[in-house]
């Protein structure tokens, strides 16, 4: 576990001096991070060790033994092997990847267009900005519920499409057809999180120094030209931050998906989180789930250790 390994970090290279001022500072620093480190220890380190332990057994609560006696059912890495050779698990990872990529790229394109729109002046812009943010304030479980209502075969979305469509009666099987169900899950995520993309990208556009925009303007550059040569290149770090944060969250998708489709029909819209939940609580395969969770966490740790860097850069650049 990356989290565990990195805890012993000795970047604190301050020379050992007998001076009370420096020592007091160091001591205070240590004391101040102590509660946080304790929290990490208790609520991450311990559960993770426990999860590793369980994943090496075939223990299940339905077996009647307490979890700490799980060593009686020791199996070494068979759960892991089962996981990485399981077509279902690999398909779910792939599916989650597809959902993440599709949703985040759609959110990015829409969010960017909206940000460009909102970078210019028009009446009531401030009020509109506030309203634009409402979807992301909707509790994710609620948005799952609301879209469940909207996307019924005879629900309002199909009704609206029927009104707009010249042919008349549109009846898309949003939640029933496997492909459409996947699209529906993506749709909810896009609806809910495009405002976040929009907001981050807008602040990126507005952060391009006015003087630089003016300098280009005086040199005769059109708005389009400035967008291409100044705004987008300068926004690169922010774009990266937005994509990373959104991908991180999209990969964890559970609430909305659970309330919308419960991963169905079949497993057509099952994300990793949904799969783990189902396996644990509907199939009681605890040790197997533990192994899958470890695999996912290791994978994410590897990706995350690279992905966090732009966020840190954002913190540093002031």
């Amino acid at each position: 576990m990356a989290v565990v390994e990195q805890t012993k970090d000795d970047q604190d290279v301050a020379p050992l001096s007998l001076d009370p001022q420096a020592a007091a500072g160091r001591r205070l620093g240590k004391m101040m991070v102590a509660p946080g480190q304790l929290l990490l220890l208790l609520l991450v380190l311990f559960p993770v060790i426990m999860e590793v332990y369980l994943s090496l057994t075939t223990w299940s609560p339905s077996g009647g033994t307490d979890w700490y006696l799980a060593y009686q059912d020791w199996t070494w890495f068979s759960n892991y092997w089962e996981g990485i050779t399981s077509r279902r698990f690999l398909e779910t990872i792939l599916r989650t990847g597809v959902i993440t990529v599709a949703a985040v790229s759609l959110e990015f394109v829409l969010g960017f267009c909206l940000a460009v729109l909102y970078a210019e002046r028009f009446p009531l812009k401030r009020v509109f900005t506030v309203f634009m943010l409402v979807p992301m304030m909707v509790v994710p479980a609620v948005s799952g519920f609301v879209f469940f209502l909207l996307l019924q075969s005879d629900g309002p979305v199909n009704s609206i499409l029927s009104l707009l469509w010249p042919g008349g009666d549109v009846s898309i099987p949003w939640l029933i057809d496997p492909t459409w169900a996947l699209i529906s899950v993506i749709l909810v995520d896009v609806w809910q999180w495009t405002p976040l993309m929009f907001l981050i990208l807008l602040s990126g556009i507005l952060a391009v120094p006015e003087d630089q925009m003016n300098a280009a303007g005086i040199l005769g550059a059109s708005w389009r030209f400035r967008l291409q040569t100044l705004v987008i290149p300068m926004m690169k770090p922010i774009i990266l931050i937005a994509l990373i944060i959104r991908s991180m969250e999209a990969f964890k998708l559970f609430d909305a998906a659970w309330l919308l489709t419960q991963g169905g029909p079949g497993e057509a819209s099952t994300t990793i989180s949904v799969l783990l939940y189902r396996q644990a609580f509907l199939s009681s395969q605890w040790s197997y789930v533990a192994a899958l969770a470890i695999i996912v966490m290791v994978a994410i740790s590897v990706i995350a250790s690279r992905a966090i860097r732009p966020l840190e850069a954002g913190q540093e650049s002031r």
């Binding site: 020379p15 001096s17 001076d19 009370p20 001022q21 420096a22 007091a24």
Partner: protein, 374 residues
Amino acid sequence: MADITITGVSKKFGDIVALNDLNLHVDDGEFFVILGHPGAGKTTTLRTIVGLEQPDAGVIQIGGQDMSGVMPGERNVGIVFQNLALYPDKTVYDNLAFPLRQKGREVSKQEIDQRVRGAAETLRISALLDRKPGKLSGGERQRVAIGRVMTRAPEVYLLDEPLSALDALLRMEMRSELKRLQHELKRTLIYVTHDQVEAMSMADRICVLVQGAVEQVGTPSEIYDQPRTIDVARAVGSPPMNLLPLTVDRSQGLCLRSTTVLFNGSADQNLSAITDGDLVHLGVRPEDVVIGGDAASCPFTARVMAVEPLGSETIIDLDVQGVIIKGSVLPTAQFAPDESVRWGVRTDRIHLFGADGVSLYTAAGQAHMTAAAP
């Protein structure tokens, strides 16, 4: 007694050497200015004196007492930071009272009130006591920062570029005001600045700091008239001292040449250290450059590059074989760009610096050198 002695202090930040074997003595009650470029180690010096930085090596004594191991709050030293660091959420009154309300300083409410109002009176900010720093002008904020130090009545005041954020007119006012204040308080005051005008006009003594080490310590006139090195020479004076590179020719006594300029030195000068072919720099301040005089005082000719009228004086830029020599003339003098003029220097006011930048010779009122055209 609060004299300050700094002995062999060094401080590194990673690979950057901020202070390099710094030795300094500041007398009790002195207005002491540390002058240097950004990055010369000025601020670090102040921070080590107040105890916010620990020297890697060396000792700091205040009033003869070793300060290592003494907490900043117990050193009886007050500091005004460059960004002032007022407490923005507290009123001026609370800012001034803050140091008195600390544990271990059992000061009665009445006493606090008295001292805050006294300091405010001295600094003429009594009317502002209820305001927050955000609502004050630059000059007022400045006074509050000084006031916060004053209420504690420390033995030593440290000021880090306190006037840098103010505009020119206000800076001029605050300069004389600060000097007056120090006269009244009679406390040791160390003032850090990169502005030579502030250093010259306020200091009892100036310390020129270069790359974390003391280059020269002296009264303003010593620093101005007898700079020990080129760095010191260029640190004070505006425009800075002109420096003309010359080659030494000892074939006939002592001659300094460039292609056309030549100085003759008399044989009695104690300049045995320099030898034939050495490169030296002739230093001359703009006010000691004579332009448009008779052949005796102005043996050379040069082209005028630029004329900069400043009102009380006019600066003339001369092109002397690619080196710009700036001369200060009276505003009534009329020169035009590209004009060819005669020029010379007051040979009783020149300086010579060796290749290592250390002063070899300062005329200091005694004429030993004469200027001559070839």
